[in-house]
Symmetry: C2
């Protein structure tokens, strides 16, 4: 049962610690599943890589010859084999699926737009004009997320793969106060990120990029 | 085995035919699974509805007492019980999951931004300035999607729940030429939407809204 996670050999500093191979790495750590890294060039990407991942992104997963792309699909695939990430009772499974998709379709899309505004289009007039209403929209979403979490430690009651998804999405709020200004969400995020599985996954991603850093141009 | 799909009693014209209860309706039609509608007010929403759906959106699903929200989770839940929507072989399942998440996390987020620009923020200066680069970004995504589809009729080789997701996402391109200018994608979308299951689901959604249209103010 060999798991291989494909990711980039190296990425620029602002992306280190955030590349989405972090998600399957974390899932594997939670269930003690060893994996191998397969490292590809990020810029330019190998031409034939687009046949593995339609948009040339990472991660992709190979699990004993079965191929998956999209970090959500990969998380679900890994979780389904282990009750520690996916409850086996019908409502526990249903809640985990609901929150897994909520992370990817109800929160992360707005984080993508925030990344466009704050990173990729920074300095552009439209980005400056858009930013306040976008922060307001994300804030409203996060208020409701905090309401739904309530007094629970984790989204589906106990830690599941949905928390791997949501915590990595919430981290994308970056230097804004979107999470830090909401104590319940901030505590939730700390609770997720203080897990040994995240810490190991994060350190391993950084170590890979450090090992493969390009030679400084002198 | 009673399935109940919750949706709004009525929505304004521009949203009719696009409300996301269309997705589980379509899935139910494909597998011949009867369902009941539960209709709620859309504006304002019942206060206690937020405990069922964190953002007050539709659909939610009740399947014999098991509760789900997020149309992606609901689609997956319905599909898992029927091979017509979810292949049982390992790679077929993996491909279906990959494309299901691709629809929700790699294409729809950009359609959300398009809806903001073209509908909710129409007339705003930033929306006008943003629109060209957004169309370019979506176009690039769709070019790669067309490449990945290649000569296949459907994303995972044969029709699966991923096509319900992707076709409903592509419909969100609305009046733009994003899909219509790409013959392979346009043919793919037609292939999906011409299915009896979509036609019935779409007609049933429209019929519900027609039945519950508010009295005209005279």
């Amino acid at each position: 049962m060999n798991v291989t996670i494909t990711t980039f050999k190296w990425v620029p500093g602002f992306a280190q610690g955030y590349v989405r191979d972090l998600r399957p790495r974390w899932a594997c750590e939670e269930i003690g599943r060893p994996y191998e890294e397969r490292l590809i060039d990020g810029d330019p990407k190998p031409d034939d890589y687009f046949s593995e991942q339609p948009w040339g992104q990472v991660p992709v997963l190979d699990d004993d010859g079965v191929h998956l792309f999209e970090s959500g699909a990969i998380l679900l695939h890994l979780a389904e084999k282990d009750e520690r990430l996916m409850p086996r009772d019908a409502q526990g499974r249903a809640s985990t699926l609901s929150w897994l998709f909520a992370a990817f379709n109800s929160i992360e899309p707005w984080m993508f737009e925030l990344a466009t505004v704050d990173i990729f289009a920074t300095g552009e007039e439209w980005a400056k004009l858009r930013r306040p209403s976008l922060l307001q929209t994300i804030g409203n979403r996060l208020d409701r997320l905090a309401d739904a979490l309530g007094e629970n430690d984790f989204l589906a009651g106990r830690f599941t793969v949905a928390d791997i998804a949501m915590a990595t999405v919430l981290r994308e709020a970056g230097d804004t106060d979107l999470v830090s200004s909401r104590p319940a969400l901030s505590a939730y995020l700390d609770r997720c990120l203080s897990r040994a599985g995240f810490q190991k996954a994060h350190a391993d991603q950084l170590a890979t990029f450090a090992r493969n850093a390009p030679e400084p141009v002198s």
